[in-house]
Point group: C2
């Protein structure tokens, strides 16, 4: 596969580096407005769905969504950013106008419920203790309650679609279920790769894992929006690919920022990924480079983490080409995303909302 | 609520005790035949659904279903009994004839997938190490793989229904999703009750928990079968209630057999429930009886388990009326089940299959 170029008349989306956030102020404003409008219409649907749960599960879910404290008292509003529901609604509006956008609100809520079900379970598996600046559900309510709340959210997401009379709802339900299988496979690969010696991990494996874990649900969100707009299978596939490629670009950039970004801005300790010996995309690319720096990196990665080695490790990844590779890849994925989008959307003007969201996704952890 | 009587001309289903297995040979044979026929048509559907999973999740699921060893080699066939799919198919056939039965096969597989998803997760939460005479998935593949395989099975179950063109499929999907929420709430209540002092647990709470954990999916299976037969909402509700009441009868009898049954026949160590200080139905009924034996039992249950106290504890439950209560309740639930069934099925003759399965359920752990 050669390097992708943005189609004529279509903008190329700038890829942020550690020294610039890469967003044009107009795009950033547009994305922020779309996200705010999305939350305004999807939040009531989400609250109704969560409100339908029996009392103890409801309390756990409300805590997870940031609406309540663990004791059930209201929490300072700190909601998720709603990137995935925004992709559903914006894809629907782009291909089907405002009526399609309104019709897709329950489906947007279903996608957000699925996202949150996977967060609840991933936090249990990864033993992550913080999520959206608060203790994760399993640390507050225990592992069984976190598993059960996640299970219930998956069920409620599917029930929303099963009860949605829109003609696209059934296909959306099947697509969302397939996406869950892919998300599970991605998380499975991630936990399996953790135990692998770095030399045995291939770049293809890590790219496939990132696509399944991060790209699949972004693609599914866009595809479901297209379904609610009555789009053709070809258009639905193009929207899915647009979301997937944007998701991969995001993951590549996120990995770069994790290594070379400003910890004050990323909210992550410097070298946290290296300390955990994570097989991030730049690291695996560096290890596979066949350079002398790759050998040095492999040696460092096989030894237990030593804080004194941090700078040397980061430098080895860079000298082995891991940073450049990831940035070129990210720009390439973003160009592919735009190319895919141009197959379903007639003009760059009408694609403005989706392009602004794709740019937003690559600038933020979500 | 008064004691339920079986409607005229309808048989009352005998309730097994420790000294009799309560089954008439004809009914037992009929149930065995229904289960075998169910496995013959549902098994291929299940294998296709599981076969659609990506490789690592597929292997975990195949191990769980008993089709493969952990290393992927074929296992000696030791399948689940398929009680729930049999209820789906038999309900469909009873209300809609052989065509409805055939149409309901994917839905029957979906119900079995949901059952197995909950088994995978319950084993993680309960730290159970054995299932169907084999090590549980989490002990073989680890907790993350068990969680992910369960998540994927829930998704595949919903996808089966979303891809089923039958007009009842969408309502079945919504009903199955609601049932998952109820199963989660039941399991949540179960883990929460474990940590409660026995004196604070009410009989209503334990009955509600047993209905959610055991009755809900049996009821849902019957209701889904009725939906595929094109039954009216009233008939669907009656079939749901039939399954629920049968499930509660099963749980009551299972608890009785756990305390007074022959360990050689139950496969459970004598007093295992008492040793774990489980709030089983006969124990909570005994504690709530206001008798002197209830006080003695409360004292015993508050102290750590001592094998020497086993006989005295069992006797206290019996003297406080826990055994009699459970047996009367079980017979009453079974009578209610028959009564509900009579509202949807015109004659006891045509209800033979469902009655045989209900009797089977109360005789076996499933």
């Amino acid at each position: 596969m050669g390097r992708a170029d943005a189609p004529e008349r279509w903008p190329s989306i700038p890829i942020p580096t550690e020294s610039t956030d890469g967003a044009s102020p107009a795009d950033a404003q547009e994305a922020a407005a779309i996200l705010a409008e999305t939350r305004a219409v999807v939040d009531p649907e989400l609250r109704t769905a969560v409100g339908s749960l029996p009392a103890p599960l409801r309390r756990i879910a409300r805590y997870h969504f940031g609406w309540e404290q663990a004791d059930g008292t209201p929490a300072a509003d700190n909601p998720g950013k709603a990137v995935r529901p925004a992709l559903v609604l914006t894809a629907a509006a782009t291909l089907g106008g405002p009526e399609a956008r309104t019709a897709a609100v329950p489906a947007a809520a279903a996608v957000e419920l699925i996202h949150n079900f996977t967060l609840l379970h991933d936090d249990v598996m990864d033993r992550d203790t913080t999520r959206r600046h608060r203790p994760t559900v399993w640390t507050v309510f225990g592992v069984p309650d976190a598993i059960l709340a996640g299970d219930a959210l998956q069920a409620v997401a599917q029930r929303l679609l099963a009860e949605d009379p829109h003609p696209a709802a059934t296909e959306a339900a099947a697509r969302l279920a397939s996406c869950v299988v892919e998300l599970c496979a991605g998380q499975q690969a991630d936990t399996a790769l953790e135990g692998c010696p770095p030399a045995e991990v291939t770049l293809d494996e890590v790219l496939a894992m990132a696509e399944a874990k991060t790209g699949a649900l972004l693609g599914c969100a866009c595809a479901i929006g297209a379904l609610y707009a009555g789009a053709s299978p070809r258009e639905v596939a193009a929207l899915d690919a647009f979301g997937r490629e944007s998701g991969l670009a995001f993951q590549l950039i996120d990995d770069v920022i994790g290594l070379w970004g400003d910890p004050g801005r990323t909210g992550k300790a410097a070298g946290a990924d290296l300390a955990a010996r994570k097989k991030t995309l730049p690291v695996v690319a560096a290890l596979a480079s066949g350079t002398p720096a790759a050998e040095e990196l492999a040696e460092l990665y096989e030894a237990p983490y030593d804080k004194g080695d941090l700078e040397r490790t980061v430098l080895a990844v860079e000298r082995a080409g891991g940073r450049d590779w990831a940035q070129v890849q990210a720009a390439d994925r973003m160009a592919r995303a735009v190319q895919e989008l141009s197959r379903a959307v007639p003009s760059p003007e009408s694609a403005g909302g989706l392009l602004a969201l794709a740019e937003y996704v690559t600038r933020r952890t979500s």
